[in-house]
Symmetry: C2
Subunit: 109 residues, 2 copies
DNA sequence: ATATCTGCAAATGGTTTGCGGAGGA
DNA sequence: TCCTCCGCAAACCATTTGCAGATAT
């Protein structure tokens, strides 16, 4: 939590191992999962272990069911003004953004 | 492209194999990657093979460098009205959303 | 003929797990 | 003693890749 760098498990392993040379990678993963369950950290991934593909290459938004993992298109107009807002804050060039909604789908609620 | 179900590679494999029983999974992955490079489909993943973790469990937005993969926080106010908009379209309950900006970071541009 | 694509099977690599032992209460 | 956590190494599994044969131009 003391870093802003959004670390990978491996990065954490390398760091902590400097102080605890016997540390094993399994322990890092185990504790990351515990912290995640406790809501103290979040994992930045698409939510599933599989990659999913979308036959529509145009940018558009998605809804992901937290229970069954199904993915739906969301036909909202793109909020492209957000790119400019982010650029002003970051001072980086923003090419596009992706927006995903999470909740429970019709079958699962 | 004829489905709206955002398929996994495995789902495509099972479908196409019905028509081409000798099809192999490697071929599916190879062609998905070609289509992706050609911009005809998109892959729905966080962009890297590693999972990344965030010590801040509060919802907030991220910027991901398309070149080096580094992740930055974006201190924009949450656009929570979008949840309601998505609910009206989908008729599903939306709990939260995630927003990621893509571009090149200061080091990479 | 030659360049590309395929099936197959093995390799890859990040993540998970089983097990026996160490440490704490 | 009992429970929890750990290191270690093997297992897991989605994805990639090397190779030799098939296909297409």
């Amino acid at each position: 939590m003391g870093t802003k760098c959004h670390p990978t498990a491996d990065w954490i392993f390398a760091c902590v191992k400097r102080k605890f040379p016997h540390l094993s990678l399994g322990t890092v993963y185990r504790n990351l999962n515990i912290l995640k369950e406790q809501g103290k950290i979040q994992e930045l991934s698409f939510g599933s272990t599989f990659d999913r593909f979308d036959g529509n290459p145009q940018p558009h938004y998605h809804f992901i069911c937290e229970k069954c993992g199904r993915v739906f298109d969301v036909d909202l107009p793109l909020e492209d003004h957000l790119n400019k807002k982010a650029e002003r804050i970051l001072h980086f060039k923003v090419n596009y953004h992706r927006l995903e909604f999470f909740g429970k789908c019709g079958n699962c609620q």
